[in-house]
């Protein structure tokens, strides 16, 4: 029964809403329990890929068929969703007091989970659309409920973009429905394959639009930064970790299950890649570069990580677009890994925000001595994000590089290299300014977060290392997905992956690392013991430092680098869109000025004029 994955969270949502009114912790607890239940029951149905369900409904004269089925792809995404929501829910049990609308948060959160499940199991467009819309709306309320004023605007932008894309989806889908009489994927794919290629491509592009928006690919990434930056701190991990990924789920469905790649197979190609795919990959490359450059400039920790999410999405789309076995596996790996390490980062930052109440990096500092576990979580996650071995993040990037070099896509590789090297810069900024450096006097008394917040972070640290050593666990399900989608699979074992030009073997890496560290530790340990001094006792050209606040280098950390891109950053795409729409909408105002100026004699005149015009038109015809 697949419907239970939708209805259990939905039913629990209302229960959580009601119970949360009585006890502030009830909602999050219920969310955690429901997610745990989903996770368990998903684990139980692993492998039964023939599971499906369908309803027939005659609605207003339309014969509709609602189809749901379990595929390896949807299973993976469902597991990721429930796992991450479990961690977030556990994390948020103690921070419910921070919420303005605690009950509504839990209500919406559970509804988002349920609707994502609906999206994932849907095998027809209508089901997909219904749950997609539901997901958009509920997440809209979640983003809006962020504490800051910008949250509203961000959510607003998010919803408008999503809605526009959703309408394009709806139009294309209903068009296909008119032709085939069914909303299901298979007939649609068949129809699109046999249809004229340009029309099919257009339809599929329209269908894929909501997924592009959700995945935050340039130039539709404008909602991501503000939405992530201003959403409630507990929701940001989910937003970045999971909601963006659902977009990729949709893209994979469009590309493979709706045979987009088959349709464009024989069009003009560049280095064996159809031009359209290459264009997608280039969009990914641009996404990486813009996301990275803008991330480096941010002073707000959540916005910084949001831009980093944008840039990491670029890697995933590149891999999916080039569609080689390595590219696809790399993308899927990166997708999972990004979910893991980005949630860790956001949770760690949420812990910081929970304790300090600010998201501005220059307002905090030196928290490592007060919140060591949070620091450890953040550190592990950024090592993974920057793609440093031996963590999971390196493996996925390595596979993507292999895929790019294999085919010789120079410019894509250049962007990938750029994003990866520059990611050191932006991940180091919060590390340096939030956790290291000088501890502010007002934060002297800060304590580590409560146990329930520590547990998710600890688990995530473990998962990062686990997948860093045993990527085979991930490759197992990925190879099933590739098999299901008809992509060749990559050779792998529990701890190694075969690339195009050499293999990755995490066991060796791990051994060597251990050896290196042991030697270094020996050197360190054998030397004289050192004396511990305070953070203010530093070389300051002889001047005695009393003021920790002004002795913390945090504001405009990479100013020299930023200077290089000042001109570029001043041209905001968001601003461009906003002026465009504002001008379009202003035309309404001029309409009103012309027609509805409040002169009743004019109104009377219009009726006569209309009569004359229509009569004239009738006459001419």
């Amino acid at each position: 029964m697949l419907t239970k994955y939708i209805f259990v969270p939905a039913a629990a949502a209302f229960a959580a809403y009601i119970l949360n009114k009585k006890n502030k912790k009830a909602g999050a607890t219920i969310t955690a329990l429901v997610s745990a239940y989903l996770l368990l029951s998903l684990a139980l149905i692993y492998g039964s890929w023939e599971l499906n369900q369908s309803f027939n409904l005659s609605l207003m004269g339309y014969q509709l068929e609602f189809l749901m089925a379990l595929t390896p792809l949807s299973w993976l995404f469902a597991v990721l969703t429930s796992a991450i929501s479990l961690l977030i829910a556990v994390f948020s049990i103690d921070s419910q007091a921070d919420f303005k609308f605690s009950s509504v948060f839990n209500l919406n959160f559970l509804l988002v989970i349920g609707s994502i499940m609906g999206v994932l199991f849907a095998r027809d467009f209508l089901t997909l659309f219904i749950f997609w819309e539901l997901m958009t709306w509920t997440s809209f309320y979640l983003i809006s409920s962020g504490k800051k004023k910008m949250a509203g605007r961000a959510a607003y932008r998010y919803l408008i973009l999503s809605a526009a894309a959703a309408y394009s989806f709806l139009m294309a889908v209903i068009f296909i429905f008119q032709q085939t009489g069914s909303f299901a994927f298979e007939p649609a794919a068949e129809f699109l394959l046999n249809n004229s290629a340009p029309q099919s491509i257009l339809l599929l592009l329209a269908i894929s639009l909501p997924f592009w928006v959700k995945a935050g690919i340039f130039p539709l990434h404008v909602w991501v930064k503000d939405a992530h930056g201003n959403a409630p701190k507990e929701f940001s991990p989910f937003l970045s970790g999971m909601l963006l990924k659902v977009g990729f789920y949709g893209l994979i469905v469009v590309f493979h299950q709706l045979s987009f790649f088959k349709i464009i197979e024989n069009t003009i190609a560049y280095r064996g890649l159809p031009l359209l795919s290459y264009l997608f990959a280039l969009l990914g490359a641009v996404t990486i570069i813009t996301g990275t450059i803008l991330a480096i400039r941010q002073e707000d920790m959540k916005k910084l990580i949001a831009y980093s999410s944008i840039s990491q999405m670029g890697y995933i789309i590149i891999g999916i677009a080039i569609a080689t076995p390595l590219g696809f596996s790399g993308s899927m790996l990166h997708l999972m890994n990004h979910l893991i390490f980005k949630s860790t980062i956001f949770l760690a930052l949420a812990a910081v925000i929970y304790r300090t109440g600010t998201t501005k990096m220059y307002e905090v500092g030196g928290l490592i001595f007060r919140m060591p576990l949070t620091f450890a979580a953040y550190l592990t996650a950024i090592i993974a994000l920057a793609g440093i071995p031996p963590t999971n993040g390196f493996i996925s990037k390595w596979v993507i590089y292999q895929a790019l070099i294999e085919k010789g896509y120079l410019f894509l590789a250049l962007a990938a290299f750029f994003g990866s090297i520059a990611s050191f810069m932006y991940v180091f900024k919060p590390l340096s300014t939030v956790f290291l450096g000088q501890l502010k006097p007002q934060h002297q008394e800060i304590k580590e977060v409560p146990l329930l917040m520590k547990i998710p972070m600890l688990i995530l640290i473990g998962v990062i290392v686990l997948f860093g050593v045993f990527p085979g666990i991930q490759m197992n399900i990925i190879s099933q997905i590739s098999g299901d989608l008809g992509i060749e699979t990559v050779n792998y074992s529990l701890y190694s992956i075969q690339g195009a030009f050499g293999a990755w073997n995490s066991l060796y890496i791990f051994n060597v690392f251990a050896a290196g560290f042991v030697i270094a530790l020996l050197v360190f340990g054998l030397a004289k013991k050192s004396k511990l001094v305070g953070l203010l006792d530093t070389y300051s050209s002889g001047e005695y430092v009393t003021d920790a606040e002004s002795y913390h280098y945090a504001y405009q950390y990479y100013r020299p680098f930023d200077r290089l891109f000042d001109n570029l950053a001043a041209k905001s795409l968001t601003g461009f869109y906003e002026t465009l729409t504002a001008n379009l909408l202003k035309s309404g105002e001029s309409f009103r000025r012309i027609f509805a100026a409040g002169r009743v004699q004019n109104y009377a005149l219009y009726s006569v004029l209309l009569f004359v015009i229509l009569a004239a038109v009738g006459w001419i015809i």
């Binding site: 959510a155 909408l585 009743v600 109104y603 009377a604």
Partner: protein, 483 residues
Amino acid sequence: MVNLTLIIALPLLMAFTMPIFKMLNSKLPKFIALLTTAFNLIVLSSNFTEIMAAPLILELGGWQAPFAINLYVGPLALVAAFLINGSAFILSIYNLSQDYQFDDKFYLLFLMITAGASGMVMTGDLFNLFVFIEITSIAAYSLTTFAGGSSYEASFKYLIIGGVGSVFLLLGIGFTYSAVGSLNLAEIAASAGLINPLLLQITALLFLIGIGIEAELFPLNFWVPDIYTEAPTAVSGIMSGAVSAAGIYALARIFFTLFPAQQFFNYLLVIGVITLIMGELIAYQQENIKRMLAYSSLAQMGLIVTVISLGTEAAVKAGLFQLINHSILKVLLFISAGVLISAAGSKKIKDLAGLGTKKPTAAFGFTIAAMGILGVPFLNGFISKFMIISSSLNADQFLITFLILAAALIEIAYYLKVVQKLYFEDLEIEVKNTAVITVPVILLTLLIIGLGVYPQLIAEPLEKAAAEILNNSRYIMTVLGGI
């Protein structure tokens, strides 16, 4: 089964005896209005199955059609009458708890407008249609002024435009009568083919303009924003929920039954789309919430006209569904907006910030209605949006579909602004005591969700209504019988 004539007669009777009730007890008039509308709903329900089986024709005065004045209640009229009386009923509940005390005259006129609008949809006679339109408009002119202040100006504007509309309508009726020699709709429809094409065209255009004013079509609709903004909430609600529905009915009846020529449908299509786009664009700019809702109403009317004038069965069904949704949602929007306005003491959207927690019921009502309009799944607007797009694509109208969706996008933009203001911004304002609207909000929310989850509920009436409106020979046959 109760005689349907009562639907018109009872409110009129009650309306004119209202001063007597007032003498008995000053609180009685509101209850009388409530009871009357409730009774009307019961009457309609009791006739439901029968009308679904076959249209009901009531001949007044014992004469037979085409000579008698007849009432024709088919499925379409039934749907429209349900909407009108339903809106009136909900608004009467709303009136019960109003803190402002209107006297008997308000309820008198309120019942009159209900009777007038019901009459418009039930009549089978062109002149009676005119009469009912006049009753409705005159009641509306006066009702508007109950808010005082600048509502007089609004009312005056409406009066003038309404006067112009009456002239056109009367002229059209005159031409028709001179050409056909009858005012019975069926009779006219039967002999419309005999009319001189030029005369027919002129006549049709006169009707288009005369009724277009009631149906709020561009560019005849600029009285609407003023009326909706300035009138008391209940009046805005009934204008938007009931009178405009009656206008659409009249428009559909005249153009589908009397002059079913593609040319007029094309006119209506163009006018409808322009109304839609303009309404949405202007609504987006508004800072006054009631004015925003007014322009949104215009746009919705445009949408409905557009879709209906596509002329396919699916399209008509979609349009009618949208009409139903529009009535439900707009009534809810107006009453919750009314509560929010009186709580904040201002009609400006920006002054409503933060009322979500202070006036939870009204804010919830507004939100759910807005989401309904925007087509969130499992709410009624989703179904009608689906049907609209499906039917317009089916009619190969890509441009129209695109414009409809673009307009829907603008609609999202401005409704969301309000919703966000309500919940996610804080403004320290003193909240005034306002009416309690729990009952109407619950009733309408149930309807919204009910229709969204199980639209099959009204599938039969819609199906029958669409079939009826598209087949004018059946109408003629039914009314005229063997003749």
